[in-house]
Symmetry: D2
Subunit: 362 residues, 4 copies
């Protein structure tokens, strides 16, 4: 087969394990098939602007445990909608042809795009235009369809759990409600897994709009049973039931506060004005996206990387390796982005949460 | 249904996540079914000697993150072969009837046995004698049949990976071969996962007897390519090809050394006398069995615990909850102990290891 | 010497190591002097309301590694200014006589108060009223005078450093300015140590009001030298030079944002509008105050605890054990609260920061 | 002043923080004094064999958190006693003149030697021969005279403490004596600090030969008080009182076992044959020497590095920066190696250990 050169880029936000994918791709490509591997810089930006370098076997030594990506990344570089600064303004152009031109100029036989929803949409677009694209699923939030898990998720859950462990002792000693805001705009996977692992008393997720009174009743019951503290884990995209939560504020301007502070402030202040316990908020933010991946994520990322090369060799373009049970299976990229994978309301894991006494704000 | 009282005990060695299982069992039993939960002390010892206490909801507060087991454990207490000290000697008796008597005296309607191979054999024996037994699979080594994973395994792999990360910098700076011996008497799961996650250059497992010359050729090749160090991960039960490895020793007595030091000394000395690099051994031992479980193991243990109560309620005695893909499914205890789950020689994970340049000593 | 019973309480906010102090106090008191140890609940609240229990030797087993305090704590309970809820309002009373009465009712011969600035002020007040008070210095911020270090500080710095390590990979891969807000209202110790340990490019502390233009020039210089990212560590109490920083906002209400988001938003937005790099903020907040103490803090807390008992036995009331160099020396409580220990502008550590290329915003 | 070029090398074993020293040296040398920094490869080997490279400012970016040394190291390369392989044999030569020649050929104005006892002896020898040598103290064991602490020590104690934390839960649940062997051939600093921080019940150090019967009596007392487990921390260089410990062995050859297994086997088996508890040994070994340094060690290493450049600039050759209390002070290298810094028998820290109930085997 004429496979000679394979390109690789990583799009979108940071996610522990990208380097492990790049390493596995490069090693297998060189070892098993003697391919040349081209690392494209800063995601699709490097494809549009022609910035790349050859990845040698030694270039990927020692990067398995590193967070980030040695190729650099850019959240914004969509070839079909490419931002260009023009006189104090940013204007967007369709630069997909530039990307295609560089693809050919680099003499690529295939292009592996590591990314999530956004990256997969672009990859799909380039596929339509004739490029030999293979995807590798990457999302902290674990909301990509078709794959049970993506690398980075276990690390994010690990960070959340360590944070809750730390916060737990303060909450307990100081009789407080601690509200921990975690990632998850549309899906509550991190909140649910991290909340279960950290022993969160209340877990609020986007899939289940919460009733602040339910939450407060639950916390009051805990107080009655002698537990003068509670840990509330809330995914950033969670909304109150009915879409709004009225808080009697004594401060003048509430709107910006809520916007800035995020849902944790909404929840925390909602509790504080109904219950006589001190309430504190912690927003974990970017701590969940960076740093060294867990052992689990390093192995999964390595499996995905080698599987991507297998797809390239088999000529299964338009596909990505997905984890289903213990198996890596090829799935069409379109399937990955068909819909967001949220927590099903009949998920057994929600049952596990309820059965171990967790309040879901229902 | 007449279910009133359920007993729980943990048998065998330590394993991070037992407390999470006990907590989930107790919480679900009380919350969902208003059962009384009896915690039996020190595994089957407490069943034979009638030592137990009621577990209240509050007794399991705050134990999710703790290693060990709040019930205590004993490796040796087999009711069918019970050790009794008699005049400087240990004599073994079949005390299973004592266990059965105490089961009835405690008014148990069911007994949940958390344990691995050994515990499951005993549980099966008690089942044959008419007790309503449900199992929960527990093994660091991940070698129990029927379930993809058991809690404790991810934690062990995490500990191994952290250790390799630490050792890696020394190996690299000081141009050394570092041999890391990990758990796994019959199965190489910890070595394979930990080795992949830590970037071990050589991974030796019981399923693949190793040829020391293959290992040394591989390390020499690394030296030729400029990598003057190597990390060798070896499972404790690994054997050399042909069953023996002859080492020209200058010290007098070699037999005890090897027995004591374990396979890592065999491998390390085998390399040292063939290659001109300093070699050091690290035996991780009990570090892999104890301490706070990872987030992954806490969630899995919690799922197992709640599933065990579901089995009790459904009256599916003789079963244990197993993880298959993402699902918890009931399996007969007999199936769990039918055979040891070792790494299949056609496992894709071995292919992943080879494709990323790992030497398996073949 | 008539010493029979010694009380212990922990006041103020959470701080890893309090339990290690309580354990050391209890063990030494019982082992060396056969004293009875009374644990007072929730700081001075328990003294005013008479809530306490005897601490046995076994009560302090296994608490060395635990964050929080087994005695509970309260930030607000000042006997001289005690909050009482009366008809929807909180009214403050001088309840110091209640505290004194309970001190005598508990038959205490001495009272050890673990705490920071606030606790030491109260302890001093009770000393004036004749109670035999000994202090143990506790402050995350390390701003208590007379002692080089307090327990909890090393743990806070550890948490900050781990967070920066995680954030570092994202900043580098994604070409971002990451602003990390850490504790320190009046003193920049955590920011300086954590910033140095984490390799922060910019460290902003309350002792040195910053000029946003200096910071931006520095970041631009980094970009010119090829470093398209920067880590900014800022103590929460840091102020811009001249007391204010004008930001051209496009959002309507800026005041609350800054108040809520803290100084990190001020800094982050100040950079974002002057430099063409994405900017993100992370506020570590309560992560710095909780959880298991570092080895260093466990040892220091244990030394303080045994030293406090020595002071009690020697009858040196009104004193606290301070760390000076490697030695624990007794200092008057008054000296500890005489003034806040901020970073001297001629501190060699600031020189170390400058010499390794750190921008201090000067 | 004529200072233009300064060389740096790291000798001896691995120690977390060497890279932080190299980074601080390089940054300060370039930033403050516009020096050229020469990194010498593999310790004195590079000096004898003329292997080196210029360290640019960017070469030390991102190495602060890395274990090991980017310059490489060698335990064996002593210029005064240099190992040369000649026909199956290793012969030693005085190659100090080669080192001196290369020093001049590299046009060095000064040479900074990062190392411990061995390195300092060599550095002193080169100083006598007229080279402008400055030292930086490095020892995991903390046994270098004159400096309160060296970098790497806090990391080693951290690793020991984490290990004990893990082992603790197993010991407690499974009613075991766990013997943890830590580094320290002549000095018990790691054992004492790690043992105190981890709550070791027994701490055995080289400074205090132990009586196995004392240890066993202590453990029996614990059992009587209900504590059916014990953690024994023993420094590798610890000896039994009277120099020997007779163990009635059932296995044939005891000598090699003890030699191989280390003192932990001696202690563990000594306990096992006297007490009816299962006993397990863990040898932490190289885990204590590698990996990312703690925050404390990163700051200390950075201070040492900048201080070394200050000594170079001041022309204080033959000196090294030492930590005394909070201050970095210059000390003659000769003073650092005058005698080994062991734990004084009147050390207050030993008193702290005894007062918190620790058995020292006395």
């Amino acid at each position: 087969m004429g496979m000679r050169r394979v390109g690789v880029l990583s799009g979108g936000g940071d996610c522990p394990g990208i380097n492990a994918v790049i390493r596995a791709i490069t090693k297998k490509a060189i070892l098993d098939y003697d391919l040349e591997v081209i690392g494209i810089h800063n995601g699709f930006e490097g494809l549009v602007e022609g910035k790349w370098r050859t990845l040698q076997y030694t270039d990927v030594s020692g990067i398995l445990a590193l967070g980030g990506t040695i190729l650099g990344a850019s959240n914004k570089a969509n070839p079909f909608h490419y931002p260009v600064s023009e006189e104090e303004e940013v204007v967007f152009y369709d630069y997909s042809q530039k990307a295609i031109d560089y693809y050919h100029q680099m003499k690529l036989d295939a292009l592996i795009c590591i990314g999530g929803d956004g990256t997969f949409h672009i990859a799909n677009g380039l596929l339509q235009k004739g490029l030999n694209v293979v995807g590798v699923p990457k999302t902290i939030d674990n909301d990509l369809s078709g794959t049970d898990l993506t690398f980075g998720f276990d690390t994010a859950v690990h960070v959340v759990t360590e944070a809750i462990d730390r916060i737990h002792t303060t909450a307990q000693s100081h009789h407080r409600v601690m509200v921990v805001e975690v990632m998850g705009r549309y899906a509550g996977w991190i909140a649910l897994h991290g909340g279960l692992a950290g022993g969160g008393d209340v877990i609020l997720i986007p899939e289940i709009p919460f009733d602040i009174n339910t939450v407060c009743e639950y916390i009051k019951n805990r107080i009655r049973s002698g537990k003068t503290f509670s840990i509330v884990v809330v995914a950033e995209g969670t909304k109150p039931k009915g879409g709004e939560l009225v808080i009697k504020r004594t401060v003048k301007e509430s709107h910006d506060q809520v916007r800035l502070g995020g849902v944790s402030y909404l929840v925390g202040e909602g509790i504080a004005e109904r219950i006589h316990l001190e309430t504190r908020m912690v927003i974990l933010g970017h701590l969940q996206r960076g740093g060294s991946p867990t052992a689990f994520d390093r192995v999964l990322a390595t499996r995905f990387g080698t599987a991507a090369i297998a797809l390239v060799i088999e000529g299964r373009f338009g596909y990505f390796p997905a984890l289903q049970g213990n198996h890596i299976v090829p799935l069409p990229i379109e399937e990955g982005i068909a819909e967001l994978k949220t927590i099903p309301l009949n998920s057994p894991l929600l049952g596990v949460a309820r059965s171990t006494g967790t309040c879901l704000g229902e």
